[in-house]
Amino acid sequence: MSRVNGPIDIADAWDLRAPERSLLVWCFACIALGFVMLWGSTHVGGGTIDRLDLLPLGLYALSLLTLHLILVTARFRGDQLILVAVAFLSGFGMLAQYRMGSFKTQGTLSINLALFPIGLILMGATVILLMRGRYQALAQGHLIWVWAMLSLGLLAVLLLFGQRFRGGVYAAGLVTPSEILKVTIVLFVAGFVARNAKSLGAWGKGLPLPPWRALLPLAGFWLILAGLLVIQRDLGLFIILSIALLTMLFVGTGRLGYMLFGGIGAVALAGVVLKILPHGERRVTAWLEPFRDPTGGSWQILQGLSGMFSGGLWGEGFGRGSPEYTPIAQSDFIYSVIGEELGFAGCAIVILFFLILFGRGLLVVSRAADGYGRAVGAGLLTVLATQTFLNIGGVTKLVPLTGLPLPFISHGGSSLITGFIGVGLLLAISDGQPATPAKSRTAKQTNGVTGKGARRSRRSSAG
């Protein structure tokens, strides 16, 4: 009972996080099997395996261990399954990137190798920094406007000094700093919504219209953002952020109307935007009629699907396919590589882990102690889930291609780091509030008598 809401010591935390520990061991075992499979294929295929090739797996094991120990030492009480799901997905990502040769540049190991371990450790750092309710400090005072200015400023700077490549705008070395917007904008909007929850929830009587006056600052911000992103031709990011905005408004105010109005607006906007952006319309054509220009606009997607077709149900095993025939497969099309080498079953496994991450995340959000935590959590989850859906849906030709990377698996440093920081934030929220004074705690307990009883009985039956 003491660990339910009160402070816990390290021994308690060690016990508490026992499931995480054993699950992480299995996680490592699974990924290790994949690496052995790859090493064997390379060896039989005539390639050489030296000590450097063992490094990715070693680093992976080390980062899992470090992450776990950090969290135990910090007496972190938050969610364990989200953590394991992310650990598995990033391990899978390392496996896939190692397979695609992203870690090797002319014999030496590249910086890409460090991205996954750094990301995992960064996630742990975010958790420690923001746990025990400290994440609320992110919405203190004028800080939320700092997030807003930071987001827009970053985009503006990028527009001025960035370089164009494949229709998008990048910073030096093809880094995409705009990825960090997925966190900063969520922080801003969640803060704004939590602060103005009452006025934003006051919809017109009779005609159900949203409160324009209260929405005005947000709408202005969004117009500028939309303009900047359209100039950068980053349609995918805009879609993700817009859906996250609507979700946060809905979660913060409980008004489903935001989703409905947003949906109608999105459909209207989509038509206009597609007309403006030339490469957008091309992508829609490649989506609707892939066989009209199979060797041109639809080449990449059809090659990806061909790879998946030859993978079939089980695939031929890691290292046995030929994903090099799909252009830039290691980033946006990594899912088709999984489909080619591990088959439909491998894809289903990846999707299941994503579903555990999102489902568990939703549970955390629904139980977050304050409105801000709920809004931030909902926003981050929406960003991740939308990105995952658009990537996988795009690769399987269910929706048009948006050029978004697959979280935790695709090649792309900024996207990876942003994903890890986002999940770190979500984990920090799952840690709940610091031990509160007795008065408010009892109030909470009286609130939750029935629920707690039910839970206790379930625990006893399990034991």
Binding site: R3, P19, E20, S22, W26, A29, L33, V36, M37, G40, S41, H43, V44, Q80, L81, F88, P294, W299, Q303, L305, S306, M308, F309, S310, G312, L313, W314, G315, G317, R320, G321, S322, Y325, G339, L342, F344, A345, G346, I349, I351, L352, F354, L355, G359, L362, S366, R367, A369, F389, G393, T396, K397, L398, S430, G432, N447, G448, G451, R455, R459
Partner: protein, 526 residues
């Protein structure tokens, strides 16, 4: 690692690791599912709202992706365009699409015209009689795509879209065994390989086309276009040649030629339909609609003037005699007499200015052009007179002339030509009434007995037909013969065109006779 791993052993280990990976992942998933109550976040307050609804929605969304993905990844064989794309553009050696056992293409007796053979793991498409059948069978090539029947019937040859419980069951077995190699269906054509080879041989060294079809059910027995190409050896040079000698052009179905005197069949049908009886005066000097235009004369006039003598002319001719002698003066007058309206009505009734689809699938169509009869101004009577003798602006395809001959042989009713044996015969249109067809049939027979075609008359077979000698701006006249045999109950209609072959009676008619006699030997005519 210096030790060498035996590939045989490795393939076993690999399967073990592969299965192990899936089991480990599945075990991890199960453990996480079981750990959900142990790891419950007891320190957090009760939920404000139920997370169940969004979780279910999200799960459904992603299951939707997986289901859609399965339609490509697992049952991609039901997407014929996708299979075709992979066969053409996918270089993955392991892709099952490359090992699809494509069906064979056969003639109506079962002789193989195209088949696939696996040589060192690579599947090749082979054509035993290459050039002779190229314009019908087409080619299927990894770089240059597919044409002809190979393209139109691609779906059937690849195994087709599943359309029955059995097909789906087969698909299921392929899924589990990873053997995505549907055995394609064979395609049987109406062509007669022997007759086709003979026809191709008759056109050797020439440019032209031969079409032979059964009047009663539209089955095409021969469709040859020369020059041809070898579908076993496709090169890019083939596609760059767009000149008049292009081998890729199907002259039988797409080549537009002035019909010359063979067009008098249409005019004769028109006259019979209008109830023409009696005679027309045909002066030796010729006929014109206005003194400003060159006179249209009979070929005897030119023969005589070449030898320095004077020709006395035909005098007064009736329709049958004029037809047998192929009198230009007679038919030019006839066309002008009935006028533009009647002329175009006849052209319309005989389906000119059309494209007739022989076989159509969502993945391509096999069609033939009929001809081009441009609409002339009603004041242009000289143009009409010229078209009435098959010159001037009138253009037709050899295939359509065969179809017209077939319609006469089938009491006026044209059956849609077909190349695929299993296609049901379907009526296309009445080109003329039954009585007109019967009388025209007798007139065609008369041409061979006593008219311009008498050179090919043979006691073995009663051939009926019309010769044609079509002047053209490119050089010597095109040589035509259009007809059928036997005259009293026609079983094979034929159309022969030899580009710049001179007189129809000298070049095309003997080819038609040889072909029909061969058909008699082969039992195609009884």
């Amino acid at each position: 690692m210096t030790t060498h791993l035996d590939p045989e052993l490795w393939s076993l280990i690999r399967v073990g690791l592969h299965v192990g990976f899936f089991f480990a992942a599945a075990y991890l998933l199960r453990s996480m599912f079981n750990a959900r109550s142990v790891t419950e976040l007891r320190h957090l307050p009760r939920p404000k709202w139920s997370a169940r609804v969004p979780i279910v929605l999200l799960t459904l969304l992603f299951i939707g992706i997986l289901v859609y993905q399965a339609t490509w990844q697992l049952i991609g064989t039901s997407r014929p365009e996708f299979i075709a794309f992979m066969q053409l553009h996918d270089r993955r050696a392991l892709n099952p699409a490359h090992r699809i056992q494509r069906g064979r293409i056969l003639d109506h007796r079962g002789e193989v015209l195209a088949y696939s053979e696996e040589i060192l793991g690579q599947v090749y498409r082979l054509y035993p009689d290459g050039p002779a059948f190229a314009h019908v069978v087409g080619y299927s090539h990894p770089w240059f795509g597919a044409s002809g029947m190979e393209s139109v019937a691609n779906v059937r040859l690849n195994g087709g879209a599943p359309d029955g419980l059995g097909d789906w069951g087969k698909l299921g077995r392929q899924l589990v065994t990873q053997d995505k190699r549907p055995r394609g269906q064979d395609l049987t054509l109406t062509l007669d390989a022997e007759l086709q080879r003979m026809a191709f041989g008759l056109l050797e060294g020439k440019q032209g086309a031969i079409v032979a079809m059964r009047p009663e059910d539209g089955a095409i027995r021969t469709l040859v276009s020369a020059p041809s190409y070898d579908p076993n050896r496709i090169t890019s040079a083939l596609f760059q040649d767009s000149g008049p000698g292009a081998a890729l052009l199907n002259r039988a179905t797409q080549g537009l030629y002035p019909p010359g005197s063979t067009f008098k069949i249409l005019l004769a049908a028109l006259a019979l339909q209008q109830g023409f009886s009696g005679t027309l005066e045909c002066p030796a000097d010729g006929f014109t609609t206005s003194p400003r235009y060159r006179k249209i004369r009979d070929h005897e006039y030119y023969t005589a003037s070449k030898s320095g003598s004077t020709w006395t002319g035909q005098g007064s001719l009736d329709l049958a005699t004029a037809f047998a002698r192929s009198s230009n003066v007679f038919f030019a007058q006839l066309g002008v007499r009935y006028g533009h309206e009647a002329f175009y009505a006849m052209a319309e009734q005989m389906q000119l200015n059309r494209r007739i689809v022989l076989h159509e699938t969502p993945y391509g169509a096999w069609s033939m052009r009929t001809g081009e009869i441009p609409r002339l101004d009603t004041s242009d009577r000289y143009g009409l007179a010229q078209m009435s003798i098959g010159q001037g602006a009138a253009l037709v395809t050899p295939a359509h002339m065969a179809l017209i001959a077939a319609s006469i042989g089938n009491q006026g009713l044209a059956i849609r030509p077909r190349l695929i044996e299993t296609d049901e015969p379907a009526p296309l249109a009445y080109f003329m009434s039954t009585s007109v067809a019967e009388r025209l049939s007798a007139m065609l027979r008369q041409v061979v007995i006593s008219g311009t075609g008498r050179g090919i008359d043979t006691p073995r077979l009663a051939i009926a037909g019309k010769t044609g000698t079509a002047e053209n701006p490119q050089g010597a006249s095109h040589s035509w013969f259009v007809g059928f045999a036997p005259a009293e109950r026609p079983q094979l209609a034929v159309s022969v065109l030899v580009e710049h072959g001179g007189y129809g009676s000298a070049t095309a008619a003997p080819i038609a006779r040889d072909l029909l006699l061969r058909a008699l030997d082969l039992g195609l005519i009884e």
